[in-house]
Symmetry: C2
């Protein structure tokens, strides 16, 4: 029965994600969203619920996409050191190439919403924990292959890398001298 959606749900959600990612939850207005999504206001409410629900949907999409991207990059290099180095250096390169990067939607949400909304506290925490597991598995692979010392504390090291990742991503927003970030990356990698 009946009339079907005229828009591609996947595409409009991606447009909404981009708006929330760039502006944050509060600063993104419904008008910003409907413009970017190219749908009418009632269609938004009908298809995705209110602003908070739409935000949650886009954030969940983001965390899945983000985690998959990191996993792929970490698995793409047989050398664990090189894989992790490439990931960190890629982040930095992106930030200093032309227009700069957009940072991390999940980190933005941790700062803006997690302290005031338990739902987002949980979503963001679980994402960071998942990233830590990805790093840990990568480090354990390096231990098995003999690339890293047998006594390496994979879990603690992985958690420390997640902390560095967050710190770098946030600091990049203030556009510091590249050497600042390069040094920090080098020190972090020296732990491996």
């Amino acid at each position: 029965m009946v009339r079907l959606r005229e828009f591609d749900e996947e595409k409009v959600l991606q447009a909404a994600m981009r708006v929330f990612w760039e502006k944050g939850y509060e600063a993104a207005s419904i008008n910003d969203l409907t413009s970017a999504m190219a749908i009418q206001r009632p269609s938004l409410y009908l298809a995705f619920g209110d602003k908070k629900q739409l935000f949650e949907t886009t954030l969940r999409k983001y965390t899945q996409w983000h985690a998959a991207g990191i996993r792929k990059k970490l698995e793409s290099n047989s050398s664990v050191r090189e894989a992790i180095r490439a990931y960190f250096e890629g982040l930095v390169d992106e930030a200093y190439d032309g227009e700069g990067s957009m940072g991390c939607f999940c980190i933005n949400t941790m700062v803006e919403l997690s302290p005031h909304d338990e739902k987002f506290e949980i979503i963001t925490r679980e994402h960071q924990m998942y990233l830590a597991v990805l790093f840990q598995e990568t480090i354990e692979r390096g231990i098995r292959s003999g690339e890293l010392h047998q006594e390496t504390n994979a879990k603690a090291l992985a958690q420390s890398l997640v902390i560095s990742l967050i710190g770098i991503t946030v600091l990049l927003k203030s556009r510091p001298d590249r050497s600042f970030v390069d040094n920090a990356v080098e020190v972090s990698l020296s732990l491996l």
Copy 2:
């Protein structure tokens, strides 16, 4: 000549700072501010300019206060390792003692405003650079005293500590298991 202010500028600025610190720039309304400051709306505009100007004033106050606090803590212990450890552990303790901590106003601003407003990009960048200098001076003191190796790269290490500080402060907003943060602190301190 004439009628004098009925309010203590220092106190009301502190109240405003607290509002912006807790809620962020967008989510803090003028009503929130005037309530917390216990002044009337036109008094706010007359004394402090518009919302953005007031925000900037409170942020500058914050960075001064924050830097002075860190400096004092780092100088308060003759052992450099112990001073830095105490600082990081104090942060974590605060976050897990009862109601949790409020994070860092400057970091919040880096995430919310720096990407969209050059003025805040500069203020937040300079604050982080200043913190890095404070850590660097502390590390150099440790090198001079013989507590740290002569070959220690004080600058790079200090910058890495600032990155860790940011990462920990942000991650704490998602209330992760304490062991996560404890491990990351331990790894960071192992670099000293």
